[in-house]
């Protein structure tokens, strides 16, 4: 496994490694304990999502986009729907915007809680890991009640949302917010006072404001360097046009700063959820969306928990997109990774990698891997046959509808 030249050791971290929750390969050249060079190899999760979208109609593409990421699925569909609505010229009802906002902020909460747990685990602080993941369950249960699923909620649709929030559910959301706020304040205090935590996080993985510009970093990584790169503020969309987000920045430029930013963002998310629930207007939750888009292209962005999420759709007037490009936030944060790793210690590598909250699936998007595992997948035809059966049992016969060959 090890290669030696010039008395330097190359340590492979990944594709399978306990500190990586998803496959990615980091070849770390060590000089003693110091990282001299880091080569990043990603792409293990390339699933061909963009190609798949090009051969599906918009409604089907939405379901694929929902599955770009397991954590920030709502951010991806929000962005995709927003792009679609912009091109189609749809006016989304206000209530739908608010529901999107509530689900989006809940998602931010659970994503950041997940991150805090993973980060704590990387530095061997398993107690904090267990605590945050316990608290994350509260949010996941809420999301499961809203959307029926713990991760892919399927709340968004073109022209609005698919599920309304009953007043009972909103009361529960507020209750969970109260419970979580108390715990989050404790974590914030912990992050500010726990000596070993600070000793491990401070001063490592430095990315200065200039580096942020050079490597085009987004999200908490940029905000920890004092750059206010929050799409909800620089380009307010949906509910954020009505309710302003408090900017959260930090000037530590390191992993510690990213931790503080995320913890504060969770408290801000709770404030926003409370506001949204209080201000949510009555009315319809969706408008009818067309099946086809007019010719055109659109570049849409939203703020996912990990940063700015950019979707590009180009339409040729058909019911299928001509090109879909998903630029997930993690993809933007990879560029500065080697720079962040070099010069620090091997012990810091896992936490520096974790500090951008990497989501490999998001980055790679897009074809199942060559060789193996194919027979475990259900192919498109059998899913279609299954759905035809389902509809037939309800008295509708969709089998005459032709499926587009690709």
């Amino acid at each position: 496994m090890s290669e030696r030249n010039d008395h330097k050791v190359v340590v492979p971290i990944g594709p399978q490694h306990p500190s990586l929750k998803e496959p990615g390969s980091f070849k770390i050249t060590l000089d003693g304990e110091k990282v001299e060079r880091a080569v990043i190899e990603i792409g293990y999760n390339h699933r061909g999502i963009e190609k798949a979208c090009e051969s599906r109609n918009y409604m089907q593409a939405l379901y694929i986009i929902e599955r770009v990421c397991g954590i920030c699925s709502h951010a991806h569909t929000s962005c995709f729907c927003q792009a679609f609505e912009e091109l189609a010229g749809l006016e989304v009802p206000r209530r739908a915007h608010y529901i999107r906002g509530i689900v989006g902020e809940l998602e931010r909460l659970h994503s950041h809680l997940l991150w805090l747990g993973v980060a704590a685990h990387e530095i061997g602080f398993d107690t904090l890991f267990m605590y945050t993941w316990r608290d994350r369950e509260l949010v996941l249960d809420l999301l499961a009640r809203i959307g029926g699923n713990r991760v892919n909620y399927g709340v968004n649709t073109y022209g609005g949302v698919r599920r309304d929030l009953e007043s009972e559910l909103m009361a529960d959301i507020l209750r969970v917010c109260d419970q979580l706020e108390e715990k989050l304040k404790y974590y914030a205090a912990l992050a500010l006072t726990e000596t070993t935590l600070i000793a491990r996080l401070k001063g490592i993985g430095v990315l200065t404001p200039d580096d942020v510009r050079k490597f085009s970093a987004v999200g908490p990584v940029a905000r920890a360097a004092g750059i206010m790169a929050d799409t909800r503020i620089v380009e307010p969309y949906g509910v954020y046009q009505e309710i302003a987000v408090t900017p959260i920045v930090d000037d530590h430029c390191d992993v510690y700063g990213r931790t503080l930013v995320r913890v504060k963002e969770m408290l801000e998310a709770i404030r926003l959820i409370r506001l949204f629930v209080r201000e949510i207007p009555d009315g319809p939750i969706s408008v009818r969306a067309p099946r086809k888009l007019p010719v055109g292209e659109v570049l849409s962005r939203v703020e996912a928990p990990r940063g700015e999420n950019v979707h590009y759709i180009r339409s040729t007037g058909a019911d299928m997109p001509d090109r879909v490009r998903v630029r997930a936030p993690t993809e933007a944060n990879w560029h500065g990774m080697s720079h962040m790793l070099e010069g620090f210690q091997l012990a810091d590598v896992p936490i520096i990698i974790a500090a951008i909250d990497p989501c490999y699936s998001c980055t790679d998007r897009a074809i199942h891997l060559v060789g193996g595992g194919i027979n475990q997948l259900t192919d498109w035809e059998s899913i279609r046959l299954h759905s035809i059966e389902q509809y037939k049992s309800r008295g509708i016969d969709p089998s005459t509808i032709k499926m587009r060959e690709f």
């Binding site: 090890s2 492979p12 306990p18 685990h121 061997g124 602080f125 726990e194 070993t196 210690q345 896992p350």
Partner: protein, 312 residues
């Protein structure tokens, strides 16, 4: 003669050690889990883990020296068992009490660490090599404060025998309070010796995948695991004898007291493990050399002064 052999083999010797170390591991894991808001394992889990490991296939790396690779687990377990026999469990005196056994115990407890290093170095694998060197680096960090902290009560008592030290503090219980700083230092250094969080950089799972023992499997790994938990029992016993020496003179009450004392020490170690993050190896070095070593040194000088100057 037969009685002595039985004492060594059964109680309070090796059989007791194996049972009690499993109990301590269970307490360690259960309390750790409860502190983390988890349910924790059932009481037989350490035993089940051990049996399962023993039954697993052993894989020896092709470029490792086979004899050394297979001998190291046994050597380290034997050293820990020998150390445990020198600590008082039943009554005030250990089975094998002799003058100067404290120093012997400290050296015996160093052997597992060296075995870890050799095991990692002999595996010829990048993670295990890094783990091995971290083990050795960490040993250089904690060994000096550990020795000074463990020897402080001995100097005050004027004897180098663990049983003798226990007897001295039994006679003068209040003197034990003088050793509180040394107790604090020895708790932290023991935590480091046992490679438990926050000093578990040598086996940091998320960085170097378990460190020195990454190539070990099956019964060899089981032996190393047994070493680790027996070491916990042995260190807790030595700490109890040196720093918490309260005896009644009635053998079974002393045994109960021994159980309470070791459990208290293990609980303190679990608390340390549960409330801190793993610190880096360079931070470990700095912490031990710039904070713990001066404290231990001050304690040592104080005890020398008390012993000699005040003629205790």
């Amino acid at each position: 003669m037969l009685l002595s052999i039985l004492k060594v083999l059964v109680f309070p010797g090796l059989l007791f050690l194996s049972v009690y170390s499993l109990v301590l591991e269970f307490v360690d894991r259960k309390v750790y889990a409860r502190m983390q808001n988890r349910k924790g394992p059932p009481w037989y889990q350490p035993m089940a883990d051990m049996l399962k490991l023993v039954g697993k296939k052993v894989i020896v790396p092709s470029n490792a020296q086979k004899f050394v690779f297979s001998a190291l687990p046994t050597v380290s377990l034997a050293a820990v068992c020998a150390a445990f026999l020198c600590t008082p469990v039943w009554g005030e005196t250990a089975i094998t009490a002799y003058s100067g056994d404290l120093v012997a115990v400290l050296y015996l407890l160093t052997i597992p660490t060296l075995c870890h290093f050799l095991a990692g170095y002999n595996s010829h694998e990048v993670y295990s090599t890094i783990g091995a060197f971290r083990t050795l680096t960490q040993m250089f960090a904690y060994e000096v404060p550990l020795f000074m902290a463990f020897l402080s009560p001995a100097i005050l008592a004027g004897t180098w025998s663990i049983s003798g030290i226990a007897a001295f503090y039994h006679a003068h219980p209040l003197y034990a309070l003088i050793n509180l700083p040394a107790f604090f230092v020895s708790l932290l250094t023991s935590q480091s010796k046992l490679e438990r969080t926050p000093f578990d950089a040598p086996e940091a799972e998320t960085e170097i995948v378990g460190g020195a023992l990454v190539e070990y499997s099956g019964r060899y790994l089981a032996f190393f695991r047994a070493t680790a938990i027996a070491e916990l029992a042995a260190v807790a016993s030595v700490l109890a004898a040196l720093f918490l020496p309260f005896f009644t003179g009635i053998a079974w009450v002393d045994f109960a007291l021994y159980l309470v004392k070791t459990l208290v020490i293990v609980l303190m170690m679990v608390l340390l493990r549960a409330t801190m993050a793993r610190i880096r190896i360079d931070q470990t070095l700095r912490f031990f050399w710039s904070i713990l070593t001066p404290i231990a040194m001050a304690q040592l000088i104080l005890n020398l002064f008390l012993r000699g100057g005040l003629g205790l």
